[in-house]
Symmetry: C2
Subunit: 345 residues, 2 copies
Amino acid sequence: MTVEVTLQPFTQRWLPALEREMRAALTSSEPALAYHYGMMHYHMGWVGADFQPSDLPAGKRVRPLLCLLACAEVGGDPAQALPAAAALEILHNFSLVHDDIEDGDETRRHRPTVWKLWGAPQAINVGDAMFALAFAALQRAADQGVTPERTLAALRTFTAMTVALTEGQHLDMRFEQRDDVTVAEYIRMIQGKTAALIGASVAIGALIGGATAAQDEALQRFGQAIGLSFQVQDDILGIWGDPAVTGKAAGNDILRKKKSLPLLHGLNDPTVGPRLHELLAGEVTAAQVSRALTLLDEAGSRAYAVAEMTRWHGIGIAALEEALGAQARQSPIFTVTEQLFGRSA
Amino acid sequence: MTVEVTLQPFTQRWLPALEREMRAALTSSEPALAYHYGMMHYHMGWVGADFQPSDLPAGKRVRPLLCLLACAEVGGDPAQALPAAAALEILHNFSLVHDDIEDGDETRRHRPTVWKLWGAPQAINVGDAMFALAFAALQRAADQGVTPERTLAALRTFTAMTVALTEGQHLDMRFEQRDDVTVAEYIRMIQGKTAALIGASVAIGALIGGATAAQDEALQRFGQAIGLSFQVQDDILGIWGDPAVTGKAAGNDILRKKKSLPLLHGLNDPTVGPRLHELLAGEVTAAQVSRALTLLDEAGSRAYAVAEMTRWHGIGIAALEEALGAQARQSPIFTVTEQLFGRSA
């Protein structure tokens, strides 16, 4: 509670500005393109399927918030980081539009996905447009007085992240067709699919704020490690989480045979692994989920995952301390991180 | 023949360097990603579906060639434009990968398309990766001694083009579902889908080569107008073209009911239009194609399209003369343009 109060003046000031920046980036004055941009606005939660304004709560905007905070943390003006923050959130949303097609997911945030409403061809193109517009959004930094050198450096970090994202997505899809994915391969995959974007969010904010190269590198490592830790937490919740919190039944990821960290740990266990493989070979029933949970207990998979989550969290905080020194644990960026982990209300 | 000989020293020197630049941009040293990059190499024509080297003839590389020539034309060193040239060709190929999915096309250059071989989910992601890597390729310009200001300006032109491309693609897909597309709407669509990339190719090469702002703007207009003219020529060939040249039967675009410029002209003709609409309402037979060709004759649609092609070509050449002065018609960039139109052997 205390923590949220600390952040509130910052989010109250900057999150509405962020929404305005994103809307400005995802806009065309050309009537013939109203439908094209309308689909993007739908995905962003700004309008309904009829393109009429909707008042859905905005997402948590974690990535742009980390970007703005990192900028402020190193002494910069968050206004200069707004274009980058908008770019990061738009890029994140591009990846969701395409992920939904690739995974065949029909709903997101309790609404039909873009491809479900308008078909895969338009949805592929809507994602492409948001990808392109994310770059355009970032380039607006130059208009906010960010030097060409810094804008270019931010663009390079941003671009490298988009490459990493597609590499991670490739591995994720490949792993679905394999039975022998190792824990190390999984970590490599989420480094691309999840951690790279969080790392880039922090690094780009810091870069625009005027961080030293060493600070910037440490902050990127912080973001990447925290991103990994956050993903592992998500994996744990997907199997043992409180349904009241996650909206999913316990064991849900087992039912879907999602190869998340705990399950991969169990599958790679020399004694439990073969039995778990056999158990999950065909269609998975509720009884088999329960049996799988027992096997994961036997392999110590939950404890392993918690230890990994804690380890990556520790690596992240150490990098934050490297970047910010003694003030690290008093910084709002630390606060946001702890909120992500639900360690503070 | 003379003309090709004139260009040959340039293409012999720069096209192999371009291929090397593109290969360097589409590469990862990580064994786990061999499959991911292998799919891209397949699309580029460098390997077969088994990822073994293939010796397919490379594409014409028209866009990167225009970029390199524009750079040289304004007194720049084409080596500095190589990263941009590679980026433009990679971006073009990204759009083909996604277009093939969106259109359901199963073959391209006489080979199965990426989605046909590896499924739409991987193909969407392969396109996304090439999109990202095109930006990465362009950013290598800074390593070739291009200043941050110019690199950033090139990135802005490049990004605006990618936005235009997705807008054009949106309109193209929307038009397929409409019966009342006007000629003006069609021109707007191909400005995004075809002309923007050719305009950007010339503009970015000139920018890196040190063109003045006025020169650069005129060269971009040249590329856009030539791109429009080229598309209209393609439309004419799609209906009346020599099958020996185009590999397609005459009337092919009528059979597919492709709303290209000549057909739209006929459909919008006050007397012929209603009959043409009726004729093409259901499945189209060979007899109906023949009847449609007669109606297009009656409406003067071919003459109209030829006049439009010529008009845009003239606008393009005028812009080239604006940029290059008296030397325009002696420049290699003019030569390449005329070759595109098959006006010289």
